[in-house]
């Protein structure tokens, strides 16, 4: 099997994997990076949302070969040491999470949105498609509004 070398949360890693293995499984099963979650495997639920070179991706449908030489950021790489990202802070302030399973993906999607637009409208927040089966959407919306106000 070929080797792929890329960065995960600032650390260079090399994985030995088939070219078409979804990045999600390279992260979870080969590298032990468990923040991105499986929820559907077909880019529908978005629970695995992470960033590739700062752009939002869903690693369940991105082959590991595409990560070669690039920077992958997962939820684990968002905080600077103990200092949380403002979006994570906003999530704590609004006590968004219930079961928490989708929240790494929700937070990574919110960070990507706030990168694109500093003050997202309700319509822009509506475009986040990540499923939250606990139904925390309103708190997610409030957390994004709050993070936007602070950033």
């Amino acid at each position: 099997m070929p080797n792929y070398t890329f960065s995960v949360n600032g650390k260079t890693v090399t994985v030995d994997a088939p070219a078409d293995l979804p990045l999600l499984w390279a992260l979870r099963d080969k590298l032990g990076v468990k923040g991105p979650k499986y929820g559907c495997g077909i880019d529908v639920c978005k629970a695995c949302t992470s960033h590739l070179d700062g752009e939002k991706i869903n690693p369940c449908v991105v082959p590991v070969s595409e990560a070669e030489g690039r920077e992958v950021t997962t939820i684990e790489g968002l905080a600077q040491g103990d200092k949380l990202h403002p979006v994570q802070e906003a999530w704590l302030e609004q006590d968004v999470a219930q079961c928490g399973y989708c929240q790494p993906g929700q937070i990574m999607a919110a960070v990507a949105l706030l990168k694109k637009t500093r003050n997202p409208t309700d319509a822009e927040i509506d475009e986040i498609e990540n499923v939250c089966r606990c139904g925390t959407y309103f708190r997610i919306r409030e957390a994004i509004r709050s993070a936007a106000a602070k950033m």
Binding site: L21, D29, P36, A97, R139
Partner: protein
């Protein structure tokens, strides 16, 4: 884990709760569970309705009473590092129970919340009925025992400090996890715990802190695990590293409960990259591989011929026909009075928690170890032991925090399947169901049909009859252990008597509508059903709230004014008044928009919900605003309660408007969230206000409370906005996708 009690029990409070000192080097206290059913409230009648069974004793009471004889339910330990550790025999699946119980301990022990650690107990067979998480009973059953255990621990550390400082206990105060003297000396609990563990230590009377002095309980508090969740550190079953447990998936049959006849390409699949093992199990063909990606490819590549399942010829139209035929007849003929008749149908609904069904199993020749999110771990342990041929005490079942449940994790099918696979493969396995399998072969809320007739005259409702016909809801998890689970399997009384018990102890009308009867008849189909948040109430009470609007219209009354007049209690009227005023009930709305309101009372709690809907396009309506009020008697964590009500609202938006399962020739068509339309951000309101009423009694249930009223409010708003009364739910339910291959 608890050793036999070392001491004579300490008796606390007027109800005589018992606590025991457990022999241990640090202070360890165990508490009994014991309580009594709360006396029924009295109805101040319009045309009075006799109390329904659920008014007298509800499901939560039954679960609590069933658990009463079990001792040492809770174990609380004061560690040398000042942390206080509570072992909780319940599941945490997002409902916030670990936070609420940590708050109870923090309150009673005067210890900072972040020093309290709550862990989920392994399956403990000695707890019998007392390790089931369901029926919204957890806080109701734990409120006093947890405080009692903590109060006993507090009395012991105070007694130990009294010895150390030579100061009478009455002159000592506890604050911030330490005991303080008036002259400024203090000792942390960690320093005192060894001395406090001595059985010879004399302690005075143990008293619970008066509720009026609570300053943690009742204060909005964030989840204790929130930081782990937002940093990706929260560990779910599939995130655990169990040595040697490799990714495993199962190829499942084309119809529910089908079985493997033959595999025609086994050698080719075994030779695929990364594949480590393959085994046939009762539910399909299991494949273990280096990664889940490879396990998925391999299971998809399998060529399997299948034996038929249990409902191969059944589709929605057949099920609906059976349900309509099964609805019991009305008793009251509509001859002498005016009346309304209404009928409603509700589709199957997948629980669809984000974390799919999953489990880790390591079955050896003489022992087994299991990890999974389990709400009934005792019956899981007993059933797994039987299935793999080991004595029960050789099977260890760890309860892992789950990624959502909504009733789903009452069933332990993944844990059982993982154990069977591990045994067959002779290796540990980490089993994950695909989302498609989770939706098609997992559990679902049963489809139901509802017939309602109400008669009225001279401004009064004289009779209210509700006939529910439902596909059987599977209660074969029993009360969480093998005795009642076995009873639920018996052919004669069996599951149906369980179902009737649950129906009769949960479903009741909050209104004085004269002679009220609510009857259930179930159609036993061998499908995978299970309790879904609020069990029968979402559909049953949701439908009734639509008929309440219909009655109000017939009597020429405003829906809020009509409800105020006929509700049974002041608590119910108070939550209704709250949403009506905060939600500006009756305000003018543009064409295509409307308000809707509904009330629900269950588990000694009550709630009202007011929504505003934008149904300018009736095929794509959106709830744009919601105002909810809830009276749960005594809220422990108002913030967690609001989260539960928000979840109930989102469940109601989803299942009322768009989310359901179509059954086609023995299998649900829906296989992912692109097809099962659970709400996304764009489907939910941008304005939500949730009011928690002040404490006025004992804690009631809260986890399931929010859903039924929201169903009624949304359906009523939709009716008002569109001028069309929906009778089939979800309202917009086309097959708007290409189903995945079977």
């Amino acid at each position: 884990m608890a050793s036999p009690p070392q001491s004579e029990p300490t008796r606390i409070g007027r109800r005589g709760f018992l606590t025991f000192l457990v022999a241990a080097p640090v202070l360890t206290v165990a508490a009994d569970l014991a309580t009594e059913a709360v006396a029924p409230g009295t109805a101040n009648a319009v045309v009075p309705t006799l109390p329904a069974p659920a008014d007298l004793t509800d499901l939560g009471d039954i679960l609590i009473l069933a658990g009463t004889p079990t001792a040492n339910m809770l174990v609380l330990q004061v560690e040398r590092d000042n942390r206080v550790h509570l072992q909780l025999p319940r599941a945490e699946v997002g409902q916030g129970l670990t936070t609420a119980t940590a708050m109870l301990v923090a309150e009673e022990l005067d210890v900072p919340l972040d020093q309290v650690v709550v862990t989920l107990s392994d399956a403990r067979t000695e707890l019998l009925f007392n390790q089931l998480t369901g029926g919204s009973n957890s806080i109701r059953s734990l409120y006093t025992p947890v405080r009692t255990a903590a109060a006993t621990a507090r009395a012991r550390v105070v007694a130990a400090a009294s010895e150390r400082f030579g100061v009478p206990a009455a002159k000592l105060v506890t604050r911030g996890g330490a005991v303080h003297t008036a002259d400024g000396r203090s000792a942390g609990y960690g320093e005192l715990t060894a001395a406090a563990a001595r059985s010879t230590l004399a302690i005075g009377e143990v008293r619970l802190k008066p509720e009026a002095q609570h300053n943690v309980v009742g204060t909005p508090t964030s989840r204790v695990d929130a930081r782990a969740m937002v940093t990706g550190q929260q560990r779910y079953t599939l995130d655990l590293d169990v040595p040697g447990a490799m990714p495993t998936m199962v190829r499942r049959p084309p119809t529910i409960n089908g079985t493997v006849r033959a595999i025609t390409n086994e050698a080719a699949v075994r030779a695929m990259p990364g594949v480590l093992a393959l085994a046939v199990v009762p539910t399909g063909v299991a494949v273990t591989a280096e990664t889940f990606g490879q396990a998925l490819d391999a299971k998809n590549a399998l060529q399997v011929t299948w034996n038929g399942g249990t409902v191969d010829n059944l589709s929605d139209v057949d099920i609906r026909k059976q349900l309509h035929a099964a609805a019991l007849p009305f008793v009251v003929p509509p001859l002498l009075t005016q009346y309304v008749d209404a009928e409603f149908d509700f589709a199957f609904v997948s629980h669809a928690p984000m974390e799919t069904n999953s489990a880790i199993a390591d079955v050896r020749g003489d022992s087994a170890e299991i990890w999974a999110g389990l709400k009934s771990p005792i019956v899981a342990k007993q059933t797994i032991a039987q299935a793999i041929g080991l004595p029960v005490d050789k099977v260890t079942v760890h309860v892992v925090q789950g990624g959502g449940s909504f009733g789903r994790r009452l069933f332990f099918d993944a844990a059982l399947e993982a154990a069977q696979i591990s045994k067959a493969m002779k290796r540990p396995v980490k089993l994950m169901w695909s989302r498609i399998d989770d939706m098609r072969h997992g559990r679902a809320r049963a489809a139901s049909h509802h017939k309602i007739r109400a008669t009225f005259a001279l401004g009064q409702v004289l009779t209210f009859e509700h006939r529910v016909a439902s596909v059987e809801t599977d209660f074969r998890h029993g009360l969480g252990e093998i005795l009642t689970a076995t009873a639920a399997h018996l052919p004669v009384a069996g599951n149906l008597s369980f179902a009737q018990t649950v129906f009769l102890t949960t479903v009741k009308s909050p209104y004085n509508f004269g002679v009220t009867t609510q009857l259930l008849n179930e159609v036993p189909l061998q499908m995978h059903t299970g309790s879904f948040r609020s069990v029968y109430s979402a559909n049953t009470r949701g439908a009734e709230e639509m008929v309440v609007d219909l009655l109000a219209a017939k009597l020429g009354k405003d829906p809020v004014a009509f409800r105020r007049e006929f509700l049974k209690t002041d608590r119910q009227r108070a939550v209704l008044d709250k949403v009506a005023s905060a939600g500006n009930w009756g305000r003018a709305m543009p064409k295509g928009f409307a308000q809707g309101v509904a009330v629900h009372d269950e588990y000694k709690s009550c709630t009202a919900c007011l929504v505003e809907i934008d149904a300018r396009d009736p095929k794509a309506p959106r709830v744009v605003k919601a105002v909810i009020a809830a009276d749960v008697g005594r809220p422990i964590n108002p913030r967690g309660l609001q989260a539960q009500l928000l979840g109930g609202l989102t469940d109601a938006i989803s299942t009322t408007l768009r989310a359901g399962l179509h059954i086609d020739k023995g299998l649900p068509l829906e296989g992912s969230y692109s097809q099962f339309h659970y709400a996304r951000q764009k489907d939910t309101p941008t304005d939500v206000q949730i009011f928690v009423m002040p404490a006025n009694g004992e804690p009631g249930g809260a986890g399931e409370l929010g859903l039924p009223a929201a169903v009624g409010a949304i359906a009523n708003a939709y009716t008002c906005a569109t001028g069309t009364r929906p009778t089939s739910f979800p309202i917009n339910f086309p097959v708007d996708f290409d189903p995945f291959p079977r």
